[in-house]
């Protein structure tokens, strides 16, 4: 093809400046230890693969019927900013697969799911998959049943995957194999409303990300 070089010094300097900026930005993002472990929508669990593919288009966040997806903020890290993360204070994941369906890049690949109705939450249809978003962890100082003397069985009765059992004292325990990190328990846990403000806004049960291969 016919071409011509059209590069004057000023443009060259600006462009080089921008490229140097880009390279340093990339290096900083890669080298800074990312200490925040975000919980990604289902399918986005391989963090390195996910950040390579996500164009931050906001489609998955928009479609999520429970609005569990939030855009990552700058506080979540430069690499993650604008990408989708699950916020179980806002909703939970039913593994409905809609986010994977709209994701144009395969950052959230589609997956097989078997859906079922769950009497504990009759308005929702949950699906069983091979995926694990994270696991629920009980904060014993914040859990009403563990802190005593009150009784609370919300998480154990509402877990769609029957991953929470009660011990002999009626305190919840998480079955790490059954829990897939759907976030229902965290969403419904009343402790940040019922317990004193001491201990901040932490809830009695919270989903934490699995060890990821990412940085």
């Amino acid at each position: 093809m016919d071409y011509r070089i059209g590069l004057n010094r000023r443009d060259f300097v600006s462009a080089t400046g921008l490229v140097v900026g880009l390279v340093s930005l990339g290096a900083v993002v890669k080298l800074l230890p990312a200490d925040v472990h975000l919980i990604r929508p289902p399918g986005g669990q391989d963090e390195d693969g996910f950040v390579a593919l996500c164009t931050r288009c906001d489609r998955c966040r928009s479609i999520c019927p429970t609005q569990a997806i939030a855009p990552a903020r700058l506080e979540d890290g430069l690499l993650a900013v604008r990408s989708p993360k699950l916020d179980f204070r806002l909703g939970w994941c039913t593994f409905c697969g809609r986010c994977a369906e709209v994701c144009p890049t395969g950052a959230l690949p589609s997956y097989k799911a078997e859906c079922f109705e769950f009497a504990g939450l009759p308005d929702e249809v949950f699906c069983k998959t091979q995926l694990k978003l994270g696991v629920a962890v009980i904060n014993r100082d914040r859990c009403i049943a563990w802190a005593g003397p009150s009784v609370c069985t919300i998480c154990s009765t509402k877990c769609p995957y029957q991953a929470i059992t009660l011990d002999e004292y009626g305190r919840p325990l998480v079955d790490l194999d059954l829990c897939n990190g759907c976030g229902v328990c965290e969403n419904l846990c009343p402790s940040s409303r019922l317990l004193s403000y001491q201990g901040g806004l932490r809830r009695g049960i919270e989903v934490s990300a699995l060890e990821t291969k990412g940085l």
């Binding site: 390195d48 390579a52 996500c54 164009t55 903020r73």
Partner: protein, 325 residues
Amino acid sequence: MASKYRLSKPRGFKFAHFYDRRKSAMKKRMTARTIRATTMVAFLALVVVGLMTRLAPGTLSSLGIRSIALVCPLGALEIMIASRSVIPLAITSLLCIILVGLVLGKVFCAWICPVPLTRMLSSQSRGPEPEPLTIAAIRPESPLQPSIFHSDRPSRIRLDSRFLVLLGTLATTAVVGFPVFCLICPIGLTCATIIGLWRLIGFNEPSWLLLVFPVVLALELLVFRKWCRRLCPLGALFSLISALNTNLRPKVDKQKCLRTSQGLDCTNCKDACCEEIDLHHAEQSSPLSECTKCRDCADACPAGAIGFRKNAKTKLTKTESSHTD
């Protein structure tokens, strides 16, 4: 006859739109600019639709319905390089965008991209209109150089500083393994700021990005200046594609043009063009592949001499079209 034209002195900056000119041309100019501003805002409004509904139209990074989507061509290249894989939807997006580029050229840059919107806004706030120029003031002392028009054939590609940024972007992406340009893309930052504001108001979710992103945007667009012409790697991609585009190119009607018909030293079309295209001096001009079909030149022309239709009655004679841009 000449007295029915009134010209005004263009300002030092490129987007000088306050030319005083024929009433009808004035109206036309208003329409082209207004329509462009409207389509740009409409595409940004899709972001808000995505926030208000669960239709997931996406943002300019990727627009679509359900599982059908177009991915930003630069984003598509970046993610394929970053993930070292072939992504079907990225490939089909690229093909669609190439097709659109062949038919409509760099139309994205003037009708969809929100960056010129900021420029329109800032040029609007630059004070009062300049003094109108009289015809006498543009009557040249010696006869003008004859015009050398652009040819009708595909343009030569100009490899400029934007291609440097494009190469830098793709190379950096390959090394760091994620679409690095997306972090500073002014289009992405604009959409992110809208989303950030929405989250702040609707979800009480403040974030530093609400401060940082607008500052970076301002840096890119105001401090670097001429982002589109010098630095935008997306524009570079669109220029490559539109090199083969021959539709909707601006053409000068020599019977009407003040230069060619009356020998007056009018440069309104050249001064209006933010892509530095000079329709009358193909040899010193940006190639026509850079034309964004913004119609600013047509609207700036006091004689209404510029048209975009293929067979506008502005056929060039052999000698005049002998020069290719």
